[in-house]
C-alpha cells in the first residue's frame, strides 16, 4: 500500500543556514504522525515546503505513491494537503463561512457558491463533530473555535492530509483535549494527520508514529507504542536530559523585598490586583502559580515599577514605595532589581536590534557601555561575545538581529542581560515559554545558581512542571488575589490545580463532610 505522503531527500537552505537536510519521511495513510523537535530544528520549514510556501532545493514529494510538484499553496491544496498554521491564517472580521470559502468560492459571484458551501460545511461539521456557527465573526470566537475554522477550511478544500503546526500552543488544556478528539475522529474517517509539536506529552498521547528532527535532519522514526518520553527527549536534544531540576534545599535568609496589600485597577476601573502581600527572601525562589490572566502580569508590572500601584506599599532596598511615592522601572533597576518580562518580544527585546544592542537595553546609560559622547561599541561587542559563549547562545553572532534567533536563544540573551548585572532580586516571567528543552535545562540551572549565590527570585510561570521543579515556596493566584501559599515540598499537581481553580477549600470541606457522614 502506498504511503499517504512520502518525502524523498528534501533539502532546503536559507543563505548560510541549512534548514532541512536530506529529509526522508513516510507517512502511512489514515495515521496520526508526530514530528517532534526543538525550536529551530527545521520542522516548520519542512511543513512549509510540503504546503508549497517554499520550494525545496532538492528532493521531491509523493502523495499516494505519485510524484507531485508543489510550487505553490494552490498545488498543495490540489494534491489534497491542508494546513492549520500556528498563527491562524484567518481574516478576523470575516464570518466563518467567508473564511472557509476564501479561495474556493465556486464562481465569480458569491451567491452561486455560498449556499452550497453552507450545506457542505454543515455536513463536515456534523461528520467530524466540528460544530460551529458559520455566520459568527471569527474575531469574536474563542481561540479553540478559530482553530476549528482552520480545520474546516482544509477539509472544505478536500484535504486528505492535514498538517497541524504547534496546534496546542494557544489552547487551554480543555481545548487541547477536544482538538485531539477531533484528530482521532479525522483519523477514523481516513484522514492522515501530521502533527508538529515540541510537547512530548501530546506525541505520546495521540500519535501512531513519530519522527524526530534535530538541527535540520530527520534523526529517528519510532512507533509511538514502542518508545517513551525519555527516549524521544534524548533524540531531540541528542543528549540525556533531566526533566527535573537538581537543587539543594533553599537557605532563605533576610527579607529582601516585601509587599503589602498591593492593588491595581485597570482602565475600566476593574480591580486586577487585589490586596496582594508577599515576602521574598534572599536565597529562595518564590513561584507564583496560576492560570494565565489571574493577576500575575499585573503583579510583575507593579513590582518592577512598569506600572504604579493604586494601593499598598513595597519595601525594597531600604525604600518604601507607595502610590504617592512611586518608582519607575529605571529607578527599581538602579536599586538592583532585575526583570525578565513575560513577553520577550513585546517587552524584553527590540527585535530589529542586533544582539549586542539588545543585550544592553535598560543598562545602556551605564558608564561601562559609554565613552564621552558616543557609545562604546567595542565594550558592548566584547561583553556580548563573552556572554554568548557563557550562555551558549547560538549562533554566537552579536551582529545577528534578535528577531532571527530562535525563541530559546532570544530568551538566553534577555536573561543573561538581567542576571549578569548581579541583581539582588530577579523577577522572571515565563522563563521558558516557547523555549526548547535543551535551553530550558540551561535556563533552569542558571536560575538555581543565582539563588544559591544568595539572591531572591520571584518566578511567574503558567507551566506547573516548571513551578514545581524550581520553586522553594509557591504562591497561587486566582482572580487577582493570593488564594494559597505552600511549601514546594507539599505541592503536587492536584493540590495546585485545585488552588488555581480556587476550588481547593471547597474540595477540602467536601472531603471533611464526606468523612463525617461516613
Amino acid at each position: 500500500m502506498p504511503y499517504a505522503i512520502e518525502l524523498r531527500d528534501i533539502s532546503k537552505r536559507f543563505g548560510a543556514v541549512q534548514a532541512n537536510k536530506d529529509i526522508c519521511l513516510q507517512v502511512p495513510a489514515g495515521t496520526i504522525h508526530g514530528i517532534i523537535g526543538e525550536n529551530g530544528a527545521g520542522k516548520s520549514t519542512l511543513m512549509s515546503i510540503i504546503y508549497g510556501f517554499y520550494e525545496a532545493d532538492t528532493g521531491h514529494i509523493e502523495v499516494d505513491g505519485k510524484r507531485v510538484d508543489i510550487r505553490s499553496s494552490q498545488d498543495a491544496i490540489n494534491a489534497g494537503i491542508g494546513m492549520v498554521h500556528q498563527h491562524f491564517m484567518l481574516v478576523e472580521n470575516f464570518s466563518v463561512l467567508e473564511n472557509v470559502i476564501l479561495g474556493a468560492e465556486g464562481g465569480a459571484v458569491l451567491k452561486n457558491g455560498i449556499g452550497a458551501a453552507r450545506v457542505e460545511l454543515q455536513r463536515l461539521a456534523h461528520e467530524y463533530s466540528l460544530d460551529i456557527d458559520v455566520d459568527a465573526i471569527v474575531e469574536e470566537l474563542p481561540v479553540g473555535l478559530q482553530q476549528r475554522v482552520e480545520i474546516l477550511k482544509a477539509l472544505y478544500r478536500g484535504a486528505r492530509i492535514l498538517i497541524l503546526d504547534e496546534p496546542t500552543g494557544v489552547l487551554t488544556p480543555q481545548e487541547a483535549d477536544h482538538l485531539f478528539r477531533i484528530l482521532k475522529a479525522l483519523k477514523d474517517q481516513g484522514v492522515t494527520v501530521l502533527l508538529i509539536t515540541h510537547k512530548l506529552r501530546e506525541i505520546m498521547a495521540s500519535t501512531d508514529n513519530v519522527s524526530v528532527m534535530r538541527q535540520g535532519e530527520m534523526v529517528a522514526h519510532r512507533e509511538t507504542a514502542n518508545t517513551s518520553k525519555e527516549d524521544l527527549a534524548e533524540l531531540m536534544v541528542g543528549k540525556k536530559v533531566r526533566l527535573t531540576v537538581d537543587k539543594d534545599d533553599a537557605q532563605p535568609s533576610e527579607v529582601l523585598l516585601s509587599a503589602q496589600n498591593l492593588s491595581q485597577f485597570d482602565g475600566q476601573g476593574v480591580k486586577r490586583l487585589k490586596n496582594v502581600s508577599l515576602e521574598l527572601r534572599a536565597g529562595e525562589i518564590l513561584g507564583i502559580a496560576g492560570v494565565s490572566g489571574n493577576g500575575q502580569s499585573e503583579l510583575l508590572n507593579v513590582l518592577s515599577g512598569i506600572t504604579p500601584m493604586d494601593e499598598g506599599e513595597i519595601h525594597f532596598a531600604g525604600q518604601v514605595i507607595t502610590a504617592k511615592a512611586p518608582k519607575d522601572a529605571a529607578q527599581m533597576r538602579d536599586l538592583k532589581m532585575a526583570h525578565v518580562p513575560e513577553d520577550r518580544h513585546k517587552m524584553g527585546l527590540v527585535t530589529g536590534f542586533e544582539a549586542y544592542e539588545a543585550a544592553v537595553l535598560g543598562y545602556h546609560n551605564s558608564p561601562v557601555y559609554n565613552g564621552k559622547i558616543l557609545m562604546n561599541r567595542k565594550a558592548m561587542l566584547d561583553e556580548c561575545n563573552e556572554r554568548m559563549a557563557a550562555w551558549d547562545v547560538r549562533p554566537p553572532n552579536p551582529h545577528l538581529k534578535t528577531a532571527n534567533f530562535s525563541g530559546g536563544n532570544q530568551q538566553k540573551i534577555v536573561i543573561a542581560r538581567e542576571v549578569e548585572q548581579n541583581p539582588e532580586v530577579l523577577l522572571i516571567g515565563q522563563p521558558t515559554r516557547g523555549v526548547d528543552i535543551g535551553a530550558i535545562e540551561n535556563i533552569h540551572e542558571q536560575i538555581v545558581k543565582l539563588r544559591d549565590s544568595g539572591k531572591a527570585i520571584l518566578l511567574v510561570s503558567v507551566e506547573l512542571d516548571e513551578i514545581m521543579a524550581l520553586s522553594d515556596r509557591i504562591i497561587v493566584m486566582f482572580d487577582g488575589a493570593v488564594v494559597g501559599e505552600l511549601d514546594a515540598k507539599d505541592a503536587d499537581e492536584r493540590t495546585l490545580g485545585l488552588m488555581m481553580a480556587n476550588a481547593y477549600n471547597e474540595e477540602q470541606e467536601g472531603e471533611e463532610s464526606a468523612e463525617v457522614s461516613a
Partner: protein
C-alpha cells in the same frame, strides 16, 4: 428658499462628482491594503491628459480614454513601488503627487504654450449636460418640477456615472469573489496567500480599478466641469476624497454620504461668499471649507464614532521565513 435649496443641492451634485469617483478609487485601493495618498496626483494627471487629448482630437470620449490611461499608468507606478518592491506607500504616493503637479504644467507649456493651460474646449470636446425628457414641460410644476428638471436633469453623463458607481462598487466589494478576496487581502494577506491566491495580482487589479476611477474624476474636472486644464486644478480634491473615504469608514454608501456632505459644505461656502449674517457678520469662506478636514480629524480622534481601517493597510506583504 426652496429654490435656493435646489440650487445648492444641484451645485452639491456637481462638486461631489469628482469626490465620489476619487473616494471610490481610494476604497478599492485601500480595501486591498494599499494606502493611496496619490489620488490627488492621479486626478490631476488625468485632468491634463483628458483636456489635452480632447483638444487635439476634438472628442471628449477620446480625452476620457487618455485621462484614464494616464491615471492607470500612475497607479501602476504606485503598484510597482509598493507591491513589487514593497516600498513605503506614503512616500510613493507623495512622489506621484509632486511629479504630476510639475509635469502637467511643464508639458502643457511645451505643447500648447498657453502659460500652463490647455486650449479652451468647445462642442464635442466637452461632456455636455443631458436634459431628461419632459424636463422643460414639467419645470413649472411645484416641488416635483424643480427637483426633476433642475436637480435630477441637466447634468453631464459623468455625474450620473459617479452616482451609479456606488451601488456597483457595493456589489463588487460585498457580493463577488473578487470583492471577497480584495477585502481579505487588505485584512490579512497571509490568509489569502495560504488559500492559494496571489496577493500581488489582487492588489494590482485593485489599483487598476483605482486608476480608472481617478481617471474619470480627472476627466470630469477638465472636460465636463470646466472647459480645459488649469494649473493645479485638482485643488486638493484627492485629499478631500481620502478624508471622505475615512469619514465613510471605507464603506461605499457611507463614503457617498460623506462626499455629498463635503460637496454640500463646498456649495455652502460658495453661497456664503460675501453674505452678511445678522449678528455674526461675514463668515469667512475658509471657515466652511476647512470643515471636511476638521470633521475627519475629529472622527479619527474618536469623537464621532470610530474609524478602523483595513488591518493590513500600508504594510508590504512579505512571506515570513517560518
Amino acid at each position: 428658499m426652496f429654490e435656493t435649496l435646489i440650487l445648492m443641492l444641484d451645485a452639491t451634485m456637481r462638486v461631489s462628482t469628482p469626490l465620489i469617483f476619487a473616494a471610490l478609487a481610494g476604497l478599492y485601493s485601500e480595501r486591498a491594503g494599499i494606502v493611496d495618498i496619490g489620488l490627488e496626483g492621479k486626478i490631476l494627471g488625468s485632468a491634463f491628459a483628458a483636456a489635452a487629448a480632447a483638444s487635439v482630437f476634438g472628442s471628449a470620449w477620446i480625452g476620457l480614454c487618455f485621462g484614464i490611461m494616464a491615471s492607470v499608468g500612475l497607479a501602476m507606478i504606485h503598484g510597482f513601488a509598493c507591491i513589487t518592491h514593497r516600498g513605503d506607500h506614503i512616500v510613493s504616493g507623495v512622489a506621484i503627487n509632486t511629479i504630476v503637479a510639475g509635469l502637467t504644467v511643464t508639458l502643457s507649456m511645451h505643447w500648447f504654450g498657453m502659460g500652463g493651460q490647455t486650449p479652451a474646449l468647445v462642442g464635442d470636446a466637452r461632456f455636455l449636460d443631458i436634459t431628461f425628457p419632459f424636463a422643460d414641460a414639467i419645470a413649472s410644476v411645484p416641488v416635483i418640477g424643480p427637483i426633476y428638471s433642475n436637480l435630477l436633469s441637466g447634468h453631464n453623463i459623468l455625474v450620473y456615472l459617479a452616482f451609479a458607481m456606488v451601488p456597483v462598487t457595493y456589489w463588487v466589494i460585498y457580493k463577488t469573489r473578487f470583492g471577497l478576496r480584495l477585502r481579505a487581502v487588505g485584512e490579512n494577506p497571509h490568509a489569502v496567500d495560504t488559500a492559494g491566491i496571489s496577493v500581488s495580482f489582487i492588489r494590482y487589479r485593485a489599483l487598476i480599478i483605482c486608476g480608472i476611477l481617478c481617471g474619470l474624476a480627472g476627466a470630469y474636472l477638465s472636460t465636463a466641469h470646466n472647459a480645459g486644464f488649469l494649473k493645479d486644478m485638482s485643488a486638493g480634491k484627492g485629499y478631500m476624497a481620502l478624508a471622505a473615504l475615512i469619514f465613510g469608514k471605507w464603506r461605499p454608501v457611507p463614503v457617498l454620504l460623506a462626499c455629498l456632505l463635503f460637496g454640500f459644505l463646498d456649495a455652502v461656502a460658495v453661497r456664503m461668499q460675501g453674505v452678511v449674517i445678522p449678528g455674526i457678520g461675514e463668515v469667512p469662506v475658509q471657515a466652511i471649507e476647512v470643515l471636511p478636514y476638521v470633521l475627519t480629524v475629529l472622527l479619527l480622534a474618536g469623537f464621532i464614532g470610530k474609524a478602523v481601517g483595513p488591518k493590513a493597510i500600508g504594510r508590504p506583504y512579505v512571506k515570513e521565513r517560518a
